[in-house]
Symmetry: C2
Subunit: 511 residues, 2 copies
């Protein structure tokens, strides 16, 4: 906006003229008007010109203009991606206190059409400043310069004020509500499962142990508390490394080595542990993450695939219908193709191939010259590179792979008649690979007992689960959708730590 | 139903006549028709007579009739409180395998109007039995005799098959979806807060500690793992008891007592611990529970009260609109007044009294002869008996008490101008007392720092929270609704362990 024009426009409307103006309705549980309800109207808010409104938000950018006669504030209140421009005259408030990025400002003002040539379709002319939450710009950790997502991870309590993280928060919120809406619509019941458990679910991770007052927990070192568990792969790597280095220490000790020698070996051991920590700083894993886990009674693998496909399509369409402004922001800043990807998934039938067919396709690709880091042969667990080849290169749409080798899947998945595969399925999508894993569950008591026995799991911890098969068993199926993966898929972001409000990973459990 | 009549009716319709009958639509992700979509129709399902349907469910009661010519099965599939009566002829299936309570049966059949004089408006005549999940009645833990809720707590994995627990599950599900719907409608964002934390929130309980692979956790005794933390009061009682008994052991040890003497004292110590465990077996507390915790930007205490009142009213109306059948079941079996209570709360403005007024009312009651166990005077934290007197006796409707003495409330609640009270509020409802606790939060950095200092809390763990006040602070408010308390309130049940699917309390973290 050219300042002279603005100055001229400002004089067009006396503040006193506004005494009888009507007021834009407030949010129901607050005395301010959400900025979204102004600028996200189809007319961009221009239809509200002439009305009074109380606005609260945080200054994105602020500057004094026209020889400090007034200030332009770009105000954002988190309700939408866009800002509302607020103009404050020097006679209304001390402008210097308003313009720092991060300052909270609540103003009463009059909405008006800005001079032609500006991007905004409406702006607010302040009549009174109701509240200022100041910021010392020399100390505020989030200046208005462009900040990397990595930098922001050190300020998780403040980063939701940034354009990107607030857009992600709104997209995440929309996906959560879409999830509840979808499953409610289809007659599912939401079951609140416990956090505290003595079951080591699927044996996929070392079990967390919760201890308290009477426990020996006081003896635990503080650093351990702040180190949530690494992923399964990391645990394996850690075990190996620590074992190797540990062996050196033992050998030295048993060889009655000098304190110095043992000290050096212990240092090496510490470094090995550090390496493990660093290794688990991946962009795809968290110590704490969210899964959406529907289970369907009287359903088989086909029903399960139908449900998973319908759910993912519903989520994609929901974002297109309800979050387009935030999606456009993500497309603009991070991933040009993210909106097209949502449209593709919402409208295209998913390809369904058996694991055996999938392996044949991959072998064919290798024979045709495609290089994979991991060898392809029947029996392997598909690696991310394989999954992404199938969905991104071969089919260029979502793919459901089903009937996996039993040896790479959990004991509760239903054994197929070939006795080699189980009725498991993974949903693969472009950008993230595996989004969903699921299966028809084994409903036959004798088969599941045999499976437990074959893989050497003791039956006792599973007796409650076996009871469900023992008394009135029926066919049933279910799956899990990695909620953070869904958000990565939707937004095009690369790091899982940027799509959860308070990520927990080694060394990070503060707040 | 009179058997002879039924036998006569059976012959009215040949199975072969049904070959061309239309089929009631299946659930979308299953090949069976939910029983709800038949019997919860306004016509009770009678309009579907003559149509084919595949039904799956568990036998509530089964009996053979007419000299074993056929069997009557009351089938329930969890989608609603009601059962569908299924009639199977001996020529269709071996009847003895179908009639045990708990048996899962999937049948294809024809819907027909039962003989007059029966309660059902429609029943299913089996044409083919598709699946049977058998039950050995000599081993099944949930026979068809009436079972107490306490008994069922030993079978949390099976108890959802009972009428009461499945009704509670549907009510809980409805309240959860209502919650998401309400807050979405009012522009709130759902923020997934972390489970793992190093903050001891509000200092209200000893912090859980999460340990894993590299930790010393292996040293912890298994019994400790299975003992989640008791409540605050229990912790205090426990400390006292264990300390006392522990002192005896120490004294014996230092006095070089005999092994026997020490052994006897250790036994006493164990008994003390057991007592503590028993004490924490209360009907109102769990080691793990769910809270709904909205926070509102640019809101004060009045906005907060408005939001809390609107939310609770919305929940009550939702149950009346969407769960009436289950509510009628609860009214019939447990609490005659539960539906009236929902209607009262949904339609009546909540009374709002200050804490000071509330204490005056209670003192007046005492002067009038009312006996309370806990003394009433300004400064006390209101006990449950006081809260229930206010809401059940004095006002006979929901009451919001606000402006509590600062010394009994958390440091982050906003200090009022009198410097004696804070802008806190509790919502009290008949039957459970406190349902919601909340406050306007302290937005002034200097005041909150002073409060931390006054109560002796170190500022370091709260620096992230103080940052939110330090940079762009604004008025804001929020509250927490105890979700299990809301379900107790709605259903009229007495024990919190019966309204959460997998309750965790001392000694119970299995499954």
């Amino acid at each position: 906006m050219g300042d002279p024009t603005a100055a001229q426009e400002l004089s067009d409307l006396s503040l006193n003229d506004a005494a009888s103006a009507s007021h834009v309705p407030n949010a129901e549980f607050s005395d301010r008007v959400p900025i979204r309800s102004i600028i996200s109207r189809t007319d961009g808010g221009s239809g509200l010109a002439g009305q009074k409104a109380r606005i609260g938000g945080w200054v994105k950018t602020g500057r004094k203009a026209d020889k400090d006669a007034f200030a332009f504030l770009e105000l954002n209140d988190g309700t939408c991606a866009g800002n509302l421009q607020v103009i404050v005259e020097a006679s209304v408030y001390e402008l210097g206190e308003l313009v720092s990025t991060g300052t909270c400002v609540v103003v009463d003002g009059l909405l008006k059409i800005p001079p032609s040539g500006t991007r905004q379709r409406v702006e607010l002319r302040a009549q009174k400043v109701i509240h200022v939450g100041p910021v010392d710009p020399s100390k505020y950790p989030l200046p208005k310069t462009k900040l990397s997502l990595e930098f922001l991870r050190d300020f998780v309590h403040l980063r939701s004020r940034t354009n990107t993280i607030s857009a992600v928060a709104r997209i995440r919120n929309a996906l959560a509500f879409a999830t509840h809406t979808f499953f409610n619509k289809h007659g599912f019941l939401y079951v609140h499962t416990p956090i505290i458990t003595t079951s080591d679910c699927e044996g996929a991770g070392e079990m967390f142990q919760v201890t308290t007052l009477f426990s020996e927990a006081d003896k635990l070192e503080k650093e351990l508390i702040q180190n949530p568990p690494p992923t399964e792969e990391d645990v394996e790597a850690a075990k190996l490394l620590v074992k190797e280095k540990g062996d050196i220490v033992s050998q030295l000790k048993s060889a009655k080595a000098s304190k110095q020698e043992i000290g050096a070996a212990v240092n090496e051991l510490k470094k090995a542990k550090d390496n493990v920590s660093k290794n688990s700083h991946t962009s795809r894993h968290l110590a704490e993450f969210w899964m959406v886990e529907p289970e369907i009674a009287f359903a088989d693998l086909k029903d399960n695939m139908n449900c998973a496909e319908a759910y993912v399509k519903f989520l994609c369409q929901w974002l297109l219908d309800n979050c387009l402004e935030d999606m456009k922001f993500m497309a603009d800043k991070f991933d040009k193709s993210c909106i097209d990807r949502l449209k593709l998934v919402a409208s295209t039938p998913f390809v369904r191939v058996s694991y055996t067919e999938a392996v044949e396709i991959l072998v064919e690709a290798v024979n045709g010259g495609k290089k994979f880091e991991n060898e392809v042969k029947w029996g392997i667990d598909l690696a991310s590179e394989h999954e992404r080849y199938l969905t991104e290169v071969k089919f260029q749409k979502p793919v459901i792979v089903y009937n996996y080798p039993k040896d790479i899947k959990a004991f509760y998945m239903r054994l197929n008649d070939d006795s080699k595969t189980v009725a498991a399925m993974d949903v693969l999508v472009p950008k993230v690979g595996e989004l969903i894993g699921g299966s028809q569950r084994e409903e036959r008591l004798d088969v599941i007992q045999q499976r437990l026995n074959d893989i050497g799991l003791p039956p006792e911890p599973y007796e409650w689960y076996l009871d469900l098969r023992r008394y009135g068993t029926m066919k049933h199926a279910g799956f899990g959708l990695g909620f953070e993966r869904m958000i990565l898929f939707a937004t095009g972001l690369e790091n899982i730590r940027d799509v959860i409000p308070f990520p927990r990973y080694p060394g990070r459990a503060d707040l």
